[in-house]
Every structure is written in C-alpha cells, then in structure tokens.
C-alpha cells in the first residue's frame, strides 16, 4: 500500500522537483527532434508514460531476482524488450494510433529517462510506487514538452496544435498569429529548442529560488534579518 505523503512526494518529484526535462535534463535527443509542435511533444510523452510505467513495474517486480553486479544489462534487456513488444502490439492491434504514435516509440529506446528511473527508483521500490513514479515522470515530461513544443510552434509558424488533425481528424490547428506571419525558422530548428529549453530551466530555477526565499522569510528570525544587509 501507499501513504498519502508517499504519493505526494512521487507526484511532486515527477511533475516539478525532478522534472525529466527541466531538472534532470535527460532525454534531450528525442526532446529536440520531436517538439517542433505541441501535438508531437504530447504524443511522445504519452508513449513514454506507457513505456515508463511498464518498465518500472517490470523491474520493481523482478528487483529481488536481479543481482546487483549485472543489474544494468538486465535493465537494458527488460526496457528494450518491453519497448519492442509495445511497438509490435500497437502496430498490430491499434494501427490508427500506431500511425500517430508509432514513430515516437522507437525514439523512447534511446531515451535515458526510462533507464534512469528504472535504476534510480524501480530497482529500490515496490511495484505500485514504481508504476506511479513512471507515470508521474511521464506527466512531468508531458507538460514540459507540450509547453516547449507550443512555444516553438507559435514562434516558428504562428500556429498552435499543428498536426492535431492527424490525431483527431475533426479538429483543426489554431492559427494564433496572422496568416502573413513570415515564420521564424530558428525556433523550429534544434538550436531554437536549446534556447527555449534554457529559458524554461532558468524559469524553474527562478521559481525555486523564490520559493526558497519565501520559506526562509516566513518565520522571521530577528538575528538573520539584522545581519541581512
């Protein structure tokens, strides 16, 4: 079973404190390649959530049988096998969805987030907690990639949710800037992704620093306040 505190700490870690993209800075390769629009970012994250939950639960259940010395090759084996099985099952049974998510699933194999969470969390924790960790790490990735993709798309071509019609044929992308917007190529190319990701990391650090400052200020300690300036 899981306590409330445990749940909150796992969720908080995944979504903000240990956010894969803006705190751990992991998995940059698929991140750069995919976030040319918000829809792609969201789709990659959804596929990652599925794979991370599965690999975390598999490793957590088998963790007592895996000798410490060979844990890394075994983890790689488990993750690679699971990703491939998910890829095959999607292709065979959910072909429509596969056409949308399919190109992202092989990208996940190259994503070190999966192995990192397996090694850092699932290898030491029970299956339920590990599954939640996988899901929330993925949710953290989801909002960061959606935001990054959305920003790149808006700056680069003036639209939002381009390509949504490939997922939901009834929906149309939103044209936020006028049609005459000339586009800003840099935002769509990898350097643009690095620059915007840098801005997001700076924003997170600034938020954290501000929160820390506030926490410090709350109980007014007279001595510290006097020596502040």
């Amino acid at each position: 079973m899981i306590t409330r505190e445990e749940f909150r700490s796992i969720a908080g870690n995944g979504i903000w404190k240990q956010n894969t993209s803006i705190a751990q800075i992991l998995g940059l390769c698929p991140l750069l390649a995919v976030t040319t629009n918000a829809v792609n970012g969201i789709m990659l994250s959804l596929a990652t959530i599925l794979v991370m939950a599965l690999s975390n639960v598999a490793v957590a259940s088998l963790r007592n049988f895996i000798p410490h010395e060979i844990r890394i090759p075994v983890f790689i084996l488990i993750v690679a096998a699971l990703v491939t099985v998910v890829d095959l099952l999607f292709n065979a049974n959910l072909h429509e969805l596969y056409l949308v998510l399919g190109i992202f699933i092989p990208l996940i194999v190259t994503n070190c987030i999966v192995l990192a969470r397996v090694e850092a969390f699932a290898a030491k924790n029970p299956p339920l907690q590990s599954t939640l960790d996988g899901v929330f790490m993925g949710v953290g990735m989801l909002w960061t990639l959606a935001l990054l993709g959305g920003m790149r798309e808006l700056l680069g071509s003036g639209t939002l949710f381009g390509g949504i019609d490939m997922v939901f044929p009834s929906l149309q992308p939103i044209q936020l800037l006028p049609e005459s917007y000339p586009g800003f190529l840099l935002a769509l190319l990898p350097p643009g992704a690095f620059i915007l990701l840098g801005c997001m990391i700076a924003w997170k650090n600034w938020m954290d620093a501000r929160a820390a400052e506030r926490a410090k200020l709350k109980p007014p300690a007279p001595v510290a306040a006097a020596g502040c300036h």
Binding site: P67, I70, L185
Partner: protein, 220 residues
Amino acid sequence: MSAAKEFTAPGMAVRTAGILFIFVIVFTGLLSAAYLWTKPAIEASAAEEKMKLVNEVLPHTEYDNDLLTDTVTLPVTPELGLADPSTLYRARKAGQPVALVFESTAPDGYAGKIRLIVAVRANGEVAGVRVTQHKETPGLGDYVEVKKDKNKARPWITQFTGLSLAQVSDREWKVKKDGGRFDYYAGATVTPRAVTKAVLKAVQWADAHRERLFAEGVAQ
C-alpha cells in the same frame, strides 16, 4: 540468502552469468512470441497502407486487377534515384494497360532524399504524385506533403496531375523561378525544385520503359 554466501568467487560468477542467461532467454522469448503473434496483423496493415497510398495516386475505379499481385520488382534504378530494389505495380482494366505505379526518389532535397510514389498513365499522363517520406524543414519545405500543405483545396503536389510530356516539354517542367511552369512557395525553392525534377524523371522513365514493363512476366 545464506546459501549465496557459501559460493566461492568463480561459483559466484557462474551463478551471476546463469541469472543473466535466464533473463536473456525469457525476454528474447517474449520478444519472439510478440513478433510471431503480431506478424500477420502487421503485414496486413502494411499492405492496406500501401493500397491506401496507391489509391491516392490512382483512383480505384480506373483499374480492375489486383495491384498487389500484378507487380514487377525493379532492380536498383539510378534514373529514378532508387538505391534499393523496389516494387512497381501495374494497373490494368479488362486486361488493357492503365497505369504504372512506382516509387521514385528525389536525391537533392533540402535535407536529404525525398521519396515519392508516382502513377503514370499509359498515355504518359501523371495520374498522381505523393511524397511518402522526407526530412524537409517543418513549416517551410514540407508543403510538398499533402497533409502539411496549408492550401487544402489544391495542394501543391496536385499540380502535376493530368500533365504529360506531350503537354509540357521537359524544358518547361521546372518551377517558375527556373523558367518553368510550376508554382512554388517563397522561402523554400530547393524542395519543390527537387520534387519537380524527380517527377519529370519519373515521367520520362515511364515513357521509355512502359511497353517492356507491361509485357514483363505475362504469359500471353
């Protein structure tokens, strides 16, 4: 637990190797099982995908044979930019040649190769062209792909439809910037130029080889 401590160093190594071996067997087995179990469904949907693509370049009503079986395997064909053998489909109606459907590659896209599927009618007319694979810049050169083209009513790639070398000479078969007759969007010329050239080559190639291709492997 206590049993593990009794192992000597080599014994430990053998035990670890044994465990790794078991994991490899189990997960490779899982992988093989999943592969074999999903194979028929995946092949069926791949064939369906192919037909969908063929239907986009050549309307289903124009032919009555089974395209997926009436094929010729093309060897490496430099004229079409094909570096690997590929499959050519022959469309017939009541036994008469209707069109050839084949792959072609533009080697000189802005970001590498642009793969196309082209259907050329027996009279030399382009029945349709679609881009199947490319790495052109998103939002700039990728309008050669119908899905990415903002002009939904008349996507860029459809302007080749219905044209043949009899109507448009090879000197005119260029984008407007190069003195030809085909439109392009400002900002990305390399991509449409590469596609236009590849379509021209495909039409020329089809004209040169049509009779041989339709006759090949047919008993009567």
